[in-house]
Symmetry: C2
Subunit: 214 residues, 2 copies
């Protein structure tokens, strides 16, 4: 199909399509003449994927990075999902080099305790170090591997459910990316808001128990 | 002490102190003459608390709301923490009224299954509905109470560890607020980044297993 039809079917304006091509987010069409190119299902699928990721709240630079990862990683590897997801931002706090070093020590001990097969080169590693460094900087109690163990345990439990043993390795890279990114950004607010809701429940129960014994 | 000393000791400029008083975030000093007021430890503590919450990345309106909640809630109630924490924002996605209604149904069923003592009036309830509505809108698989159960289970496990049976009910309201807000904002990135790290580990292990059987 020509670009006009691609634009109509994908509901994406032509200048936006050209922008995606310039940015390397969408492959060029097959040149059919000096001024025209032909586009196919691949282009339509890719535009749909970009639209989904945008709806999920990802910015264009993050989408571009995720697509680059997808295009340069073997698609049947679940590790691929982790690479794409590692590019997503996690909120940071200002911390000192000492606090970061302490966080790195805690994370290394934790990862060793749990027997996790993760490299400190992974972008998610740095995100975890920064998150723990925020705790070291501001949390009023000591931040130790033992204190962190329950969070690692819970993370393991979620990962085992989210990437089950029979996790379908034959889905396309685009499907894998869609699952990875949506699985991260859509489930994160669910996890956090259910934790807050569980705190309300826990508070009510502790209060009721205190009321009944006093 | 006079305002100049308060400013020096808290490391907060006088105009900022006056702003906090106007906004109701800091109590007025005790008037000692027509133009002067006296400030004490309470004021110093409150300024330190505001600074900590700011470092944790909270905006002034959120801090003001949390302080209002603190000042109007009995301080020995763990429920108070949940109220303050409910004011913190959770990321949202655009959803339709039908998707929101579906999310509300799923959440009600989930809360009933788990026996949670939470009211749908709580601000955290709405946050959970919006988070689940994001899933309903964009996740490619059906969103059912059973599918959500593992997240509720994990949330319960965290709440039980974070608000243990012997949770100290005699800490001051300011301490309670500090724990509640920091416990929310500092631990959230830890939870999310460890989940991402656990995905990397899980991916590596699934891949190794596939490698060894093929």
């Amino acid at each position: 199909m020509r670009i006009a039809e691609l634009s109509r079917r994908a509901e994406v304006p032509i200048p936006t399509i050209k922008f995606y091509i310039r940015e390397g987010m969408l492959p060029r069409g097959e040149r059919s003449s000096a001024t025209q190119a032909r586009y196919g299902q691949t282009h339509l699928d890719r535009l749909t994927l970009i639209a989904t990721l945008q709806k999920a709240g990802l910015t264009l630079p993050v989408i571009a990075q995720a697509l680059r990862t997808m295009d340069s990683t073997p698609g049947d590897s679940p590790e691929f999902m982790a690479v794409a997801v590692g590019a997503l931002p996690v909120r940071d706090y200002a911390t000192s080099p000492e606090q970061t070093a302490r966080a790195e020590t805690v994370l290394r001990a934790l990862v060793e305790q749990r027997g996790w097969d993760v490299s400190s080169d992974a972008p998610v590693w740095q995100a975890a170090v920064r998150a723990i460094a925020g705790l070291v900087a501001l949390w009023p109690e000591p931040v130790t591997p033992d204190r962190m163990a329950v969070y690692a345990e819970v993370a393991e439990r979620l990962a085992a459910v989210e990437l089950p043993d029979g996790w379908n390795p034959s889905i396309s890279p685009a499907e894998a990316l869609r699952y990875a990114v949506l699985g991260t950004v859509l489930f994160e607010p669910v996890i956090l808001s259910l934790r807050r809701l569980a705190h309300v429940d826990r508070g009510a129960k502790l209060r009721a128990r205190r009321g009944s014994t006093s």
